[in-house]
Amino acid sequence: MSLLSLHNLSKSFGGLRAVDGVGFDVAAGSIKAIIGPNGAGKTTLFNLIFGSSIPDGGSVTFAGATLAPGRPHKKVALGMARTFQQIRLFPHMTALENVMVGAHTRGKAGFLASLLSLPRTRREDHFLRDQALAAMRLLGIEGLAASQATELAYGAQRAVELARALASKPKLVLLDEPAAGLNMRETVELGKLVRRVRESGVTVLLVEHDMALVMGISDEVVVLCQGQKIAEGEPLAIQKNPEVVRAYLGDEDA
């Protein structure tokens, strides 16, 4: 059963067709990777799915409903979460507070209740704290809870960002180049974390350049080139696909 389906998504910037009629399904409970050369439209595709950018054409179906374009903050309540290519943690906040922000949609205390700090508001805050700690525990980083998030090592910051995305209890997480800036050991660790995330019942869609990581953890791979999908399938089949080989290496041979 597919959790997320893209139908014929398109987006142009000026004359450039950044995403050109892309469609594919992401099965519930799977890890799917999007790969492709720089400028293939991977991040644009993410932004279209999440609503940070509005498509020129096509649609996105998520958990059985067609998503309204735009309104990215609404996507979180529907069960989607994302991380960024450049880590975007909140400065001057602890790792735990960062992850608690990720659990924002699981609480509902507004300005008035928060000003008055009603008993039910405080109970809700304990609940959010527990949820955040659970997400950190899943990734084995609960020990970092009290640290200032932006002062952590790079790999730890990635993990905190992932925990923040998981704290909303999403059905699907979008990871935008999670291994960017990580060394080899950290990348291996990250692969384990992503698998653990999937085992906890969360579907994963990631954009990634690190082929070892992609081939090691993905159930399926989609290849984009110049905004178009040129291949889709299991990692081993993709590696042997002549068109994919040409897209990555062809120009250099010529």
Partner: protein
């Protein structure tokens, strides 16, 4: 947990009592008047600290909201409706108990709005204006937002200065005292100086309690997240425009509240309260207080406003605040009394002490 939440407030409350006791014993009760006024001036500063320091949205127009509070309440409680007593809406307002009849200074009959409904109308007006202005303006970022709020402040200033209904350059005078509850009246008469000092500081303490709650809450975290990385806040499901707008409205209501109380305390209000320099002053105090530091802003606000009200800065009154702002922007753009800065200083101390003997 609960203990630590109330501890600083208890210390401040004790300090408030101590200052009053010392001032009364030393027969220097006139200081309490300036401390009362400084207390009311702290309300817009506390709201602005949340808006600027926590949510990261600069406003150089908050004196405008302070003035809206003071002017609306001042106007309603002084504008004589006696000649229009037979008009339907005046009768309806009278029937609801919103009006009070009396005599003006010349002995003619007067009919004005009671202070309580006037106060509420002033706060609602400030909230409404903040909503209408904030909705489009808070989409702007950085300098653009600063310029837009500066424009708003200028409009309010020029408007009260030019409106004959609001007394133009003279402002509104003879504004009545505000009987809050039986036995407690907002008034500058020296007979009620001590109770007014406690009223102002009670309001400051209550505001600190509420805003402290907000900072530690889900909403407070959302505001700090917006400041830190707005796109990541959106990706966490926060409706950033909505949160900014609500914070803007809340800070405008606090500014107006300070305006209402100070105006009834002083018995008048003039256009200088709406001037841009007053807004700049608030920004300077928030900055020197450490931006995201309610206690720092309160301390600097009381200190500087107290000195300013006592005339310590002489003709350089406005210049002092300009220099403070300039200095902060040049040397400590993230604010002076920042908790991290203080923490780092504290961390240096024991290390230095330990280092000496070895």
């Amino acid at each position: 947990m609960t203990g630590s939440r109330f501890f600083p407030l208890a210390v401040l409350a004790a300090a408030v009592v101590l200052v009053q006791a010392v001032a009364s014993l030393a027969d220097r009760n006139q200081y309490l008047t300036q401390l009362t006024m400084a207390g009311y001036y702290s309300l817009p500063i506390l709201g602005l600290t949340l808006l600027m320091g926590y949510a990261g949205q600069v406003s150089i127009g908050h004196a405008g909201f302070f003035a809206i509070g003071g002017y609306v309440s001042g106007f309603l409680t002084t504008y004589n409706l006696a000649e229009r007593a037979n008009e339907g809406w005046v009768r309806a307002a009278g029937g609801l108990g919103l009006l009070v009849a009396g005599q003006d200074v010349f002995g003619s009959p007067s009919l004005v709005v009671r202070p309580w409904p006037a106060c509420i109308a002033a706060l609602l007006m400030a909230a409404l204006v903040a909503y209408v202005i904030g909705k489009p303006v808070l989409r702007l970022k950085g300098h653009l937002l600063a310029m837009a709020t500066l424009g708003f402040g200028t409009i309010v200033y020029r408007w009260v200065l030019g409106s004959s209904l609001l007394g133009a350059a003279d402002g509104i005078s003879d504004i009545p005292a505000f009987p809050l509850v039986p036995g407690l009246v907002v008034s500058g008469r020296s007979a009620v100086r001590v109770s007014n000092y406690y009223l102002a500081w009670g309001l400051v303490l209550f505001t600190l309690l509420l805003l402290g709650n907000l900072v530690r809450s889900r909403v407070g975290r959302a505001l700090r997240a917006i400041h830190g990385a707005e796109d990541a806040a959106t990706a966490s499901g926060i409706d950033t425009q909505d949160a900014k707008l609500r914070m803007f409205v809340l800070s405008a209501i606090l500014a107006a509240l300070g305006g209402v109380f100070l105006t009834h305390y002083n018995g008048g209000i003039g256009p200088s309260e709406a001037s841009i320099m007053k807004s700049v002053r608030m920004v300077a105090i928030v900055a020197i207080g450490g931006m995201a530091n309610l206690w720092g802003a309160l301390a600097m606000g009381v200190l500087l406003n107290f000195l300013s009200l006592r005339g310590s800065f002489g003709v350089y009154d406005d210049a002092v605040f300009g220099v403070i702002l300039l200095g902060i922007m040049l040397f400590a753009p993230q604010g002076l009394l920042r908790p991290e800065l203080l923490r780092r200083l504290l961390r240096l101390l024991p290390r230095g002490a330990k280092g000496e003997p070895t």
